[in-house]
Protein backbone atom coordinates (compact mmCIF):
# COMPACT_ATOMS: atom_id res chain seq x y z
CA UNK A 1 0.00 0.00 0.00
CA UNK A 2 2.69 2.49 1.06
CA UNK A 3 4.92 1.25 -1.73
CA UNK A 4 2.20 1.86 -4.32
CA UNK A 5 1.46 5.31 -2.88
CA UNK A 6 5.14 6.23 -3.17
CA UNK A 7 5.36 4.76 -6.68
CA UNK A 8 2.51 7.01 -7.81
CA UNK A 9 4.05 10.11 -6.26
CA UNK A 10 7.40 9.26 -7.83
CA UNK A 11 5.91 8.71 -11.28
CA UNK A 12 4.10 12.06 -11.25
CA UNK A 13 7.13 13.97 -9.89
CA UNK A 14 8.74 14.87 -13.25
CA UNK A 15 5.39 16.24 -14.42
CA UNK A 16 5.46 18.68 -11.48
CA UNK A 17 8.30 20.56 -13.24
CA UNK A 18 5.66 21.67 -15.73
CA UNK A 19 2.88 22.01 -13.16
CA UNK A 20 4.69 24.58 -10.97
CA UNK A 21 4.94 27.41 -13.53
CA UNK A 22 1.34 26.75 -14.60
CA UNK A 23 0.23 26.99 -10.96
CA UNK A 24 2.09 30.29 -10.57
CA UNK A 25 0.31 31.66 -13.65
CA UNK A 26 -3.07 30.37 -12.46
CA UNK A 27 -2.51 32.03 -9.06
CA UNK A 28 -1.26 35.33 -10.41
CA UNK A 29 -4.15 35.46 -12.91
CA UNK A 30 -6.57 35.72 -9.97
CA UNK A 31 -4.76 38.67 -8.38
CA UNK A 32 -4.31 40.24 -11.86
CA UNK A 33 -8.09 40.64 -12.17
CA UNK A 34 -8.23 42.42 -8.83
CA UNK A 35 -9.10 39.54 -6.51
CA UNK A 36 -7.13 38.42 -3.46
CA UNK A 37 -5.03 35.51 -2.28
CA UNK A 38 -8.11 34.01 -0.60
CA UNK A 39 -9.93 33.82 -3.95
CA UNK A 40 -6.83 32.37 -5.64
CA UNK A 41 -6.59 29.63 -3.02
CA UNK A 42 -10.34 29.00 -3.15
CA UNK A 43 -10.25 28.68 -6.94
CA UNK A 44 -7.50 26.07 -6.75
CA UNK A 45 -9.15 24.09 -3.97
CA UNK A 46 -12.71 24.23 -5.31
CA UNK A 47 -12.05 23.84 -9.05
CA UNK A 48 -8.59 22.17 -9.04
CA UNK A 49 -8.18 22.26 -12.84
CA UNK A 50 -5.65 24.68 -14.32
CA UNK A 51 -7.04 25.35 -17.79
CA UNK A 52 -10.55 25.90 -16.42
CA UNK A 53 -9.27 28.12 -13.59
CA UNK A 54 -7.43 30.35 -16.06
CA UNK A 55 -10.38 30.49 -18.45
CA UNK A 56 -12.99 31.31 -15.81
CA UNK A 57 -10.76 33.88 -14.09
CA UNK A 58 -9.90 35.72 -17.31
CA UNK A 59 -13.50 35.67 -18.58
CA UNK A 60 -14.77 36.88 -15.20
CA UNK A 61 -12.15 39.64 -15.25
CA UNK A 62 -13.28 40.66 -18.75
CA UNK A 63 -16.82 41.02 -17.43
CA UNK A 64 -18.28 38.16 -19.48
CA UNK A 65 -21.81 37.03 -18.56
CA UNK A 66 -21.65 34.53 -15.68
CA UNK A 67 -23.38 31.88 -17.73
CA UNK A 68 -20.62 32.11 -20.36
CA UNK A 69 -17.92 31.96 -17.67
CA UNK A 70 -19.48 28.85 -16.10
CA UNK A 71 -20.22 27.10 -19.40
CA UNK A 72 -16.69 27.66 -20.70
CA UNK A 73 -15.06 26.24 -17.59
CA UNK A 74 -17.36 23.20 -17.63
CA UNK A 75 -16.69 22.52 -21.33
CA UNK A 76 -12.93 22.76 -20.66
CA UNK A 77 -13.36 20.16 -17.91
CA UNK A 78 -15.68 17.82 -19.83
CA UNK A 79 -12.70 15.63 -20.76
CA UNK A 80 -12.62 14.48 -17.12
CA UNK A 81 -15.77 12.42 -17.78
CA UNK A 82 -13.80 10.40 -20.31
CA UNK A 83 -10.79 10.08 -18.00
CA UNK A 84 -13.02 8.96 -15.13
CA UNK A 85 -14.83 6.39 -17.28
CA UNK A 86 -11.52 5.14 -18.68
CA UNK A 87 -9.94 4.89 -15.22
CA UNK A 88 -13.00 3.36 -13.49
CA UNK A 89 -12.20 -0.27 -14.42
CA UNK A 90 -8.69 0.25 -12.99
CA UNK A 91 -9.49 1.88 -9.64
CA UNK A 92 -13.20 1.37 -8.88
CA UNK A 93 -13.15 -2.38 -8.09
CA UNK A 94 -10.59 -1.87 -5.31
CA UNK A 95 -11.82 1.48 -4.04
CA UNK A 96 -14.55 0.36 -1.62
CA UNK A 97 -16.02 3.25 0.36
CA UNK A 98 -13.40 5.65 -0.97
CA UNK A 99 -15.05 5.65 -4.43
CA UNK A 100 -16.96 8.96 -4.09
CA UNK A 101 -13.82 10.80 -2.98
CA UNK A 102 -11.37 9.68 -5.66
CA UNK A 103 -12.69 11.71 -8.59
CA UNK A 104 -11.75 15.07 -7.06
CA UNK A 105 -8.03 14.37 -7.58
CA UNK A 106 -8.38 13.44 -11.27
CA UNK A 107 -6.22 15.54 -13.63
CA UNK A 108 -4.58 15.02 -17.03
CA UNK A 109 -1.30 14.03 -15.39
CA UNK A 110 -2.70 11.75 -12.69
CA UNK A 111 -5.00 10.05 -15.20
CA UNK A 112 -2.10 9.39 -17.58
CA UNK A 113 0.28 7.87 -15.02
CA UNK A 114 -2.39 5.80 -13.24
CA UNK A 115 -4.07 4.34 -16.32
CA UNK A 116 -0.72 3.41 -17.86
CA UNK A 117 1.45 2.55 -14.84
CA UNK A 118 -0.91 2.06 -11.88
CA UNK A 119 -0.82 -1.73 -12.14
CA UNK A 120 2.83 -2.15 -13.11
CA UNK A 121 5.41 -3.85 -10.88
CA UNK A 122 2.77 -5.14 -8.50
CA UNK A 123 1.44 -1.67 -7.66
CA UNK A 124 -2.09 -1.37 -6.33
CA UNK A 125 -4.01 1.19 -8.42
CA UNK A 126 -5.90 3.00 -5.63
CA UNK A 127 -2.94 3.95 -3.40
CA UNK A 128 -0.91 4.60 -6.56
CA UNK A 129 -3.58 7.02 -7.78
CA UNK A 130 -3.74 8.69 -4.35
CA UNK A 131 0.06 9.09 -4.25
CA UNK A 132 0.13 10.72 -7.67
CA UNK A 133 -3.02 12.76 -7.01
CA UNK A 134 -1.99 14.14 -3.62
CA UNK A 135 1.54 14.99 -4.78
CA UNK A 136 0.07 17.01 -7.61
CA UNK A 137 -2.66 18.50 -5.41
CA UNK A 138 -0.21 19.88 -2.82
CA UNK A 139 2.11 21.20 -5.53
CA UNK A 140 -0.82 22.92 -7.21
CA UNK A 141 -2.10 24.54 -4.00
CA UNK A 142 1.31 25.81 -2.90
CA UNK A 143 2.08 26.97 -6.46
CA UNK A 144 -1.12 28.96 -6.92
CA UNK A 145 -0.79 30.68 -3.53
CA UNK A 146 2.84 31.54 -4.37
CA UNK A 147 1.68 32.86 -7.75
CA UNK A 148 -1.01 35.00 -6.12
CA UNK A 149 1.51 36.43 -3.64
CA UNK A 150 4.59 36.84 -5.83
CA UNK A 151 3.29 36.81 -9.40
CA UNK A 152 4.50 34.42 -12.09
CA UNK A 153 8.08 34.49 -10.80
CA UNK A 154 9.37 31.85 -13.22
CA UNK A 155 10.02 33.69 -16.51
CA UNK A 156 7.77 32.51 -19.35
CA UNK A 157 10.88 32.43 -21.57
CA UNK A 158 12.10 29.34 -19.67
CA UNK A 159 9.11 27.52 -21.20
CA UNK A 160 8.97 25.00 -18.35
CA UNK A 161 5.40 24.17 -19.45
CA UNK A 162 7.13 22.11 -22.17
CA UNK A 163 8.06 19.55 -19.48
CA UNK A 164 4.50 18.21 -19.46
CA UNK A 165 4.31 17.11 -23.12
CA UNK A 166 7.86 15.74 -22.79
CA UNK A 167 6.92 13.44 -19.91
CA UNK A 168 3.71 12.48 -21.71
CA UNK A 169 5.86 11.44 -24.69
CA UNK A 170 7.70 8.93 -22.52
CA UNK A 171 4.38 7.60 -21.22
CA UNK A 172 2.90 7.49 -24.72
CA UNK A 173 5.66 5.46 -26.39
CA UNK A 174 5.05 2.16 -24.52
CA UNK A 175 1.28 2.79 -24.64
CA UNK A 176 1.35 2.42 -28.44
CA UNK A 177 1.83 -1.35 -28.38
CA UNK A 178 -0.84 -2.37 -30.86
CA UNK A 179 -1.53 -1.09 -34.35
CA UNK A 180 -5.02 0.08 -33.41
CA UNK A 181 -3.58 2.47 -30.80
CA UNK A 182 -1.00 3.82 -33.27
CA UNK A 183 -3.87 4.67 -35.62
CA UNK A 184 -5.85 6.19 -32.75
CA UNK A 185 -2.84 8.34 -31.86
CA UNK A 186 -2.43 9.54 -35.46
CA UNK A 187 -6.13 10.46 -35.74
CA UNK A 188 -6.33 12.26 -32.40
CA UNK A 189 -2.95 13.95 -32.97
CA UNK A 190 -4.01 15.32 -36.36
CA UNK A 191 -7.39 16.34 -34.97
CA UNK A 192 -5.75 18.11 -32.02
CA UNK A 193 -3.28 19.93 -34.29
CA UNK A 194 -6.14 21.18 -36.46
CA UNK A 195 -8.87 21.79 -33.88
CA UNK A 196 -7.21 22.95 -30.64
CA UNK A 197 -6.25 26.37 -32.07
CA UNK A 198 -9.66 27.06 -33.62
CA UNK A 199 -12.56 25.45 -31.74
CA UNK A 200 -14.46 27.69 -29.29
CA UNK A 201 -14.59 27.23 -25.49
CA UNK A 202 -11.25 25.36 -25.68
CA UNK A 203 -13.22 22.32 -26.81
CA UNK A 204 -10.59 21.20 -29.36
CA UNK A 205 -8.89 18.84 -26.91
CA UNK A 206 -12.15 17.09 -26.03
CA UNK A 207 -13.19 16.73 -29.69
CA UNK A 208 -9.72 15.44 -30.67
CA UNK A 209 -9.81 12.73 -27.96
CA UNK A 210 -13.31 11.73 -29.14
CA UNK A 211 -12.09 11.56 -32.78
CA UNK A 212 -9.25 9.21 -31.82
CA UNK A 213 -11.44 7.00 -29.61
CA UNK A 214 -14.15 6.90 -32.30
CA UNK A 215 -11.61 5.75 -34.86
CA UNK A 216 -10.53 2.94 -32.53
CA UNK A 217 -14.14 1.91 -31.89
CA UNK A 218 -15.07 2.01 -35.58
CA UNK A 219 -12.05 -0.10 -36.42
CA UNK A 220 -13.07 -2.71 -33.83
CA UNK A 221 -16.53 -2.99 -35.40
CA UNK A 222 -14.92 -3.72 -38.77
CA UNK A 223 -12.74 -6.42 -37.19
CA UNK A 224 -15.70 -8.07 -35.48
CA UNK A 225 -17.51 -8.26 -38.83
CA UNK A 226 -14.59 -10.16 -40.34
CA UNK A 227 -14.29 -12.56 -37.43
Amino acid sequence: MQRSFRAGAKEVAPLLVGVVPFALVAGSAVTDVGLGILEAAACSIIVFAGAAQLALTQLWGDGAPLLVVIATALVVNARFVMYSASLAPVISPEAGRARPFLGYLLTDQVYAVTVLKGRENGSRPVPYYLGAGLALWFTWQVGTIAGAMLGAVIPASWQLDFAVPLVFLVLLVPALKVRADVEVAIVSGLAAAALVPVLPLQSGLLVAILCGAAWGAWRAIGEDDHA
Binding site: F48, W60, A73, S92, P100, L160, F168, V184, A185, L205
Partner: protein, 108 residues
Protein backbone atom coordinates in the same frame (compact mmCIF):
# COMPACT_ATOMS: atom_id res chain seq x y z
CA UNK B 1 -18.11 42.83 -10.97
CA UNK B 2 -18.49 41.90 -7.33
CA UNK B 3 -16.34 39.30 -5.63
CA UNK B 4 -19.54 37.43 -4.79
CA UNK B 5 -20.15 36.57 -8.42
CA UNK B 6 -16.64 35.06 -8.63
CA UNK B 7 -17.41 32.81 -5.66
CA UNK B 8 -20.70 31.80 -7.29
CA UNK B 9 -18.78 30.79 -10.44
CA UNK B 10 -16.26 28.81 -8.34
CA UNK B 11 -18.97 26.89 -6.50
CA UNK B 12 -20.98 26.00 -9.61
CA UNK B 13 -17.91 25.08 -11.69
CA UNK B 14 -16.42 23.17 -8.74
CA UNK B 15 -19.61 21.16 -8.20
CA UNK B 16 -19.98 20.43 -11.92
CA UNK B 17 -16.34 19.43 -12.24
CA UNK B 18 -16.31 17.10 -9.26
CA UNK B 19 -19.48 15.44 -10.59
CA UNK B 20 -17.89 14.91 -14.02
CA UNK B 21 -14.74 13.54 -12.40
CA UNK B 22 -16.53 11.27 -9.95
CA UNK B 23 -19.70 9.85 -11.49
CA UNK B 24 -18.12 7.26 -13.82
CA UNK B 25 -15.81 6.03 -11.01
CA UNK B 26 -18.72 5.86 -8.56
CA UNK B 27 -21.17 4.19 -10.96
CA UNK B 28 -18.69 1.65 -12.34
CA UNK B 29 -20.16 -1.85 -12.40
CA UNK B 30 -23.76 -0.79 -11.77
CA UNK B 31 -25.71 -1.89 -14.78
CA UNK B 32 -24.23 -2.91 -18.10
CA UNK B 33 -22.42 -0.49 -20.33
CA UNK B 34 -23.33 -0.26 -24.02
CA UNK B 35 -20.76 -2.12 -26.12
CA UNK B 36 -19.96 1.01 -28.12
CA UNK B 37 -19.01 3.01 -25.01
CA UNK B 38 -16.67 0.22 -23.94
CA UNK B 39 -15.02 0.25 -27.34
CA UNK B 40 -14.61 4.04 -27.24
CA UNK B 41 -13.10 3.97 -23.75
CA UNK B 42 -10.52 1.34 -24.62
CA UNK B 43 -8.69 3.89 -26.77
CA UNK B 44 -9.02 6.96 -24.56
CA UNK B 45 -5.49 6.65 -23.03
CA UNK B 46 -3.72 6.72 -26.41
CA UNK B 47 -6.09 9.37 -27.80
CA UNK B 48 -5.85 11.63 -24.75
CA UNK B 49 -2.07 11.53 -24.40
CA UNK B 50 -1.56 12.28 -28.09
CA UNK B 51 -4.12 15.08 -28.08
CA UNK B 52 -2.40 16.61 -25.06
CA UNK B 53 1.11 16.32 -26.54
CA UNK B 54 0.67 17.40 -30.16
CA UNK B 55 -0.67 20.97 -29.73
CA UNK B 56 1.81 21.81 -26.97
CA UNK B 57 4.69 20.69 -29.19
CA UNK B 58 3.43 22.44 -32.34
CA UNK B 59 2.27 25.74 -30.87
CA UNK B 60 3.47 28.38 -28.47
CA UNK B 61 0.66 30.03 -26.52
CA UNK B 62 2.72 32.75 -24.84
CA UNK B 63 0.92 35.47 -26.82
CA UNK B 64 -2.50 34.15 -25.80
CA UNK B 65 -3.23 32.54 -29.16
CA UNK B 66 -1.76 29.42 -30.78
CA UNK B 67 1.29 30.29 -32.91
CA UNK B 68 3.32 27.66 -34.78
CA UNK B 69 6.68 27.35 -33.02
CA UNK B 70 9.59 25.74 -34.93
CA UNK B 71 11.79 25.57 -31.80
CA UNK B 72 9.16 23.50 -29.96
CA UNK B 73 8.73 21.23 -33.00
CA UNK B 74 12.45 20.59 -33.31
CA UNK B 75 12.83 19.96 -29.59
CA UNK B 76 9.75 17.71 -29.67
CA UNK B 77 11.18 15.56 -32.47
CA UNK B 78 14.50 15.28 -30.61
CA UNK B 79 12.66 14.33 -27.41
CA UNK B 80 10.55 11.74 -29.25
CA UNK B 81 13.75 10.15 -30.56
CA UNK B 82 15.25 10.05 -27.04
CA UNK B 83 11.98 8.73 -25.59
CA UNK B 84 11.89 5.92 -28.17
CA UNK B 85 15.52 4.99 -27.57
CA UNK B 86 15.74 5.30 -23.79
CA UNK B 87 12.15 5.29 -22.45
CA UNK B 88 13.70 7.39 -19.71
CA UNK B 89 11.91 10.43 -18.31
CA UNK B 90 14.99 12.35 -17.14
CA UNK B 91 16.86 11.83 -20.43
CA UNK B 92 13.81 12.91 -22.43
CA UNK B 93 13.24 15.96 -20.23
CA UNK B 94 16.90 16.98 -20.55
CA UNK B 95 16.97 16.51 -24.33
CA UNK B 96 13.64 18.26 -24.87
CA UNK B 97 14.23 21.24 -22.59
CA UNK B 98 17.87 21.62 -23.67
CA UNK B 99 16.87 21.36 -27.32
CA UNK B 100 14.11 23.92 -26.86
CA UNK B 101 16.38 26.46 -25.13
CA UNK B 102 19.11 26.10 -27.78
CA UNK B 103 16.69 26.24 -30.72
CA UNK B 104 14.80 29.18 -29.22
CA UNK B 105 18.10 31.07 -28.81
CA UNK B 106 19.23 30.22 -32.35
CA UNK B 107 15.90 31.02 -34.01
CA UNK B 108 15.48 34.13 -31.86
Amino acid sequence: MSTGSYWLVLIIVGAGTVLMRSLPIVLHGRGSMPKLIGRLLRHVPAAALTALVVPSVLYSTSTGSHVFDPARCGAGVLALFVALRTRNVVATLAAGMGGLWILAALLG
